[in-house]
């Protein structure tokens, strides 16, 4: 599902060199490492927001340097550190359906209603709420739900538990685990030990410009 082959990348200087790893369907990995080592940069390479300087990144069978990020969005669900940056609509329902309209435009109304009802129930969201009146924790849940509603094969989450309370973290962990059991793959950046413990996952550490298991 996700394959890094001798990938090197950096801006002014190399952040990582000859990194190779792979994640199979039904596998979940948590990526940790010190601040500034390039964890978020590595995640951006997974969906083509950044292209590798050397080596290949293969996502859902597609080479990221040969495909546009917007077309890879059909297979990847990307959660940014700051939920406000990815929220584009007024209400919860509009926001949740926005991503769906981009990645699965042919979805009929009845199916949309069903998906909306399922995801709002799962995360305890009210579809008619105006997003920017919600607390940051709930805005984070809206951002997470708007990624999951599109049912991507590969989940790429950057610090998803920031602002979430204990109950919300458990809901998120359950949501991710059920999708992994259904054959999805996830690469998650997190420093949240409590959350990492709940997930039954592979642990990757980005250190000294390489990935260690």
């Amino acid at each position: 599902m996700l394959k890094f082959e001798d990938v090197s990348f950096g801006f002014t200087e190399e952040l990582f060199e000859n990194v190779s790893f792979r994640l199979h369907p039904g596998e979940i990995a948590v990526l940790t490492g010190k601040n500034g080592v390039g964890k978020s940069t590595l995640l951006r390479l997974c969906n083509g927001l950044l292209k590798p300087k050397k080596g290949k990144v293969r996502t859902a069978g597609f080479l990221t340097d040969e495909h546009k990020t917007s077309s890879l969005a059909r297979h990847t669900g990307f959660l940014f550190q700051n939920p406000d940056r990815q929220i584009s609509k007024h209400t919860v329902a509009e926001e949740l359906l926005f991503g769906l309209s981009l990645t699965a435009p042919d979805t009929d109304e009845a199916e949309k209603e069903r998906l909306l009802a399922d995801i709002t129930t799962e995360f305890g969201l009210n579809p008619t709420d105006e997003i920017f009146t919600l607390s940051k924790g709930y805005r984070q849940l809206v951002a997470i739900a708007s990624v999951l509603i599109t049912d991507p094969a590969l989940l790429l989450f950057d610090e998803p538990t920031v602002c979430l309370d204990k109950h919300q973290k458990k809901t998120l962990a359950d949501g991710i685990s059920s999708r992994i059991k259904a054959g999805k793959t996830a690469l998650i950046i997190s420093h949240d030990l409590e959350f990492i413990d709940i997930l039954d996952c592979k642990k990757l550490i980005l250190k000294d410009k390489v990935i260690k298991e």
Partner: protein, 220 residues
């Protein structure tokens, strides 16, 4: 290296008095509009570029000019098509034509537009906002509250540019085709960015105002 904010350095421009830099920028911009010739904006462009090179910002300035050239080209084409007086250079369809006057006016307009933006951008590049606020307060006795507001507003320009980049990135990751090559399509996709950009701007301004108030800015 990129962006419109302050870039640390130790050049003579970095060390110069902020008011002097602002004053010089205003003189350069005034000269562009006061002298009715293409030589003025061309000269200001050259002087500003040399000043940028002197503080290790030549590449940055070329990048700014390159990004301004994109929309300048659109303005140039529209202006040229709207001005139908003067000697015909190229006859077009439906009675439209490209005239010598149209080309010269549009060229001057675009050149002035680019040249007038650069001096102030360079001042922001080599001056810390807080230094500018202090200097405005001390030299012109502008109340610190207002000088601080001006400096903060300037600080927000690069922040907004970064924010816009991040929002575009986030929407692209969700499937919005910001990574398309088509200029018209790209321009049309800018509309959905407005809401998150506006809301984050208001939020940032509110937080900055509360933070400034908590540190006693209004008492200075």
């Amino acid at each position: 290296m990129g962006g419109l904010g302050y870039f640390p350095g130790d050049s003579f421009l970095h060390r110069a008095n902020p008011i002097l830099k602002l004053f010089l920028a205003i003189i350069l911009v005034t000269a562009i509009f006061a002298i009715p010739s293409l030589i003025a904006p061309a000269a200001v462009l050259a002087v500003t570029f040399l000043l940028a090179v002197s503080c290790n910002s030549g590449k940055w300035m070329l990048k700014i000019i390159r990004s301004m050239l994109k929309f300048s080209l659109v303005i140039f084409i529209i202006q040229t098509l709207f001005i139908q007086t003067g000697d015909t250079l190229i006859p077009l369809f439906w009675g439209l034509r490209i005239t010598y006057q149209g080309v010269m006016f549009s060229l001057g307009f675009v050149l002035k537009l680019i040249a007038s933006a650069l001096p102030l951008a360079l001042v922001l590049r080599v001056t810390k906002g807080i230094d500018l606020a202090d200097a405005l307060n001390e030299t012109f006795k502008i109340p610190y509250k207002y000088a601080y507001a001006v400096a903060s507003a300037m600080r927000f320009v690069p922040d907004f540019a970064d924010e816009m980049k991040d929002i575009i990135e986030a929407q692209t990751a969700r499937g919005v085709e910001h990574d398309t090559k088509g200029f018209v399509k790209k321009a049309r996709l800018l509309a959905p960015i407005c809401l998150p950009l506006l809301l984050s701007g208001v939020r940032k301004a509110e937080v900055a105002a509360i933070s400034a108030e908590m540190r006693g800015v209004s008492n200075r």
